[in-house]
Subunit: 396 residues, 2 copies
């Protein structure tokens, strides 16, 4: 009992922190509650109107709101549009096939025909669901197509009011989609595009912090002085390594979104994925660089001082470039001072190269001692070229 209580308390605490970290979650929960209560009012008042068309079917509207309402506007809109169009299509196809089956005229053949078409179309459409292009953006729509198609054609077995059934399903689902969409957009909307934008710019910032800390502190002083804050700056880049799928999902949602804030409709979201990919490449290199952190204490001070200055310069300047890029993305302004930092970084990288190419600097030094530092240096040079790539694709 005691361990159970401890677990409950733990979960309660983590639930509380969730809301503290991201208050949008609280707002979202209230929005969902509001939208469902709203649509339930429609069900409540509906029989009081003259028009008593829906009956039990009005529940489809409730169902739609529950299923369609997502955290971001893009996701909600994507699901709503998918659901609306797929319901119309599914209902029409099922209606058409029902008409076709009726032509047979025979009471025995009709259900067999219906069953056959049901099997055939469901199997084909399920197969098409695996097409990567369809899966990324229309998976939910295809599912709803199968659903509506099955429901409407199955209901054709009993009553002849298939068309009526199809109609009410379409109307109620449209009402549900509308309510979900309106509540989602009008009350404190969360835009998937904005989230993607923030995510990419925070990735830049994480990589930039790593390089800055690496440059100013790590290469400068002994490792014992590194405080906890710095360790967290150094670890931050790790979350960039595995962001690919999250970014792709957000970009797919963002494509559904209308013009909002600083983003227009058809904002080039694909470009974000590209920049994100380059940032990830850079994070991979930093990950390799990170392996050499442990070597540091083994290197003789003599060598360190020689190679330290240019490495420090390269790392710090790259860090500045990335942080400015992050800031420029955040404020959506053109980063005018960035070219200075890029030039500095390039010059520093060239200096480092020249240093490595000058044999005389390295005579009489234990060869194995230089290797880790040299590796760090060449990785840093690679990082400069990644940074330049990032800036270039940002410019576009």
């Amino acid at each position: 009992v005691k361990t159970f209580m401890v677990k409950v308390v733990d979960n309660a605490i983590s639930a509380k922190n969730l809301g503290k970290e991201d208050p949008r979650i609280i707002v979202h929960s209230l929005k969902v509650g509001f939208a469902i209560t709203l649509v339930s009012l429609f069900y409540y008042f509906e029989p009081k109107f003259e028009y008593q068309g829906f009956g039990v079917s009005a529940m489809w509207a409730v169902l739609t709101v529950v299923v369609v309402f997502e955290f971001t506007v893009g996701a909600t809109l994507g699901r709503a549009i998918n659901r609306a169009i797929a319901t119309c299509l599914g209902a029409s196809v099922a209606g058409g096939i029902h008409r076709l089956a009726c032509f047979s005229g025979s009471k025995t053949i009709e259900p067999i025909l219906l069953g056959f078409f049901l099997f055939l179309i469901v199997a084909i459409v399920t197969y098409l669901r695996f097409l990567p292009k369809l899966k990324a953006r229309y998976d939910y729509g295809v599912l709803i197509f199968i659903l509506t198609f099955s429901l409407v054609s199955v209901s054709g077995y009993h009553d002849k009011q298939v068309l009526e059934m199809a109609e009410t399903r379409i109307t109620t689902i449209l009402i549900g989609c509308d309510i979900a969409f309106l509540v989602c957009v009008l009350i404190c909307p969360v835009w998937a595009g904005q989230q993607l934008h923030d995510k990419i710019s925070s990735n830049f910032e994480k990589i930039g912090s790593f390089l800055e800390v690496f440059g100013t502190d790590y290469l400068n002083t002994s490792s014992e002085e590194a405080s906890e804050q710095k360790t967290s700056d150094l670890e931050g880049y790790k979350s960039v390594l595995n962001t690919k799928s999250a970014e792709e999902v957000l970009a797919n949602f963002a494509r559904w979104e209308p013009r909002h804030g600083k983003f227009r409709y058809r904002h080039p979201w694909g470009r974000y994925l590209e920049i994100g990919g380059i940032a990830r490449e850079c994070a991979f290199r930093i990950h390799a660089l990170n392996d050499y952190l442990n070597y540091e204490t083994q290197v003789e001070p003599e060598i360190r001082t020689k190679i330290q200055e240019p490495c420090k310069k390269v790392s710090t300047e790259c860090g500045h470039v990335l942080k400015e890029l992050a800031l420029a993305m955040k404020t959506m302004t053109y980063p005018h001072t960035i070219t200075i930092h890029i030039d500095n970084a390039k010059i520093a990288a060239e200096n480092l190269k020249t240093l490595l190419h000058t044999n005389s600097s390295w005579e009489g030094i234990n060869f194995s001692d230089v290797i880790p530092m040299a590796t760090v240096a060449s990785l840093l040079i690679e990082i400069v070229s990644s940074s330049v790539k990032m800036v270039e694709s940002f410019d576009k």
Copy 2:
């Protein structure tokens, strides 16, 4: 019109290839078609029994099959169990609250109370959906809880047969879950656990191939001789870089699966994620190694021959270790010969280290020329230690 036709043909071709590449997709599509036709038969014959309980509600069974049926057994079972339990819970809670509201006795207060509870409970449960622990395995269940709860409490506005409604919903959904699960398991099942297992072992194989090709061919001959087959071997590891989320999803599905084939229930799927993580670490290092492929032509043959032999040895032996690990996973046997390769790899890595530490070998050589090769060498040494880690965690 012409571009549209071209697009249609393109899509048709890619749809055809999909089935060729993975025939399980075709089988899956037929299974879904079969399950839905089966459940529609239930709807067709149902009014012919004495027991005429369901009526329109029988459609919930069709809906359940469409929504629950997934590609792998684990995913289907997870959704089915989530849906079944969540429906029962949601219906009970809604029934309880309806009872509570009835106590008020007043016709005006009752719907207000119902609406208030609806808002409150939906908002709270939506908030809880964001808890990472719940989200990973029970997200669908929580959604269905909200759905059932809303539907049953909303229907309480009109008719007093709330309990009946809750009951038929539970029964029909249970029937749908059963049919979906049975068809999924009995006809050519696709196990998520098996997929995870295969994925991890193929990741090992990809990394192993890279190291083998890198060892035998690349470090040996000039880069121009590298044929296309080899390039694809060298590129294969890239897909390992971004597998984290896919592996996590599969592991979550696999946890639902009962004993099957070589896997028992509660197979340590978490361990797979660990091994997968180490393999990914190794892939990150290989990615850094890959950067140096382009340097190769610039290095003088004199240095290459010196450092080549041990590098080659390290790379090839690591490749052997990983490929044997992959084979051992595939056949689920203990890899007895692997220890020899590990020892060889370790010895080769030691030799390489000694070579790098011997100053005399490097005198009079242009310093900058050694750096890329030295970097390659030290990365390879790191890869040996990753490989050893993988073997260790495999042994557990």
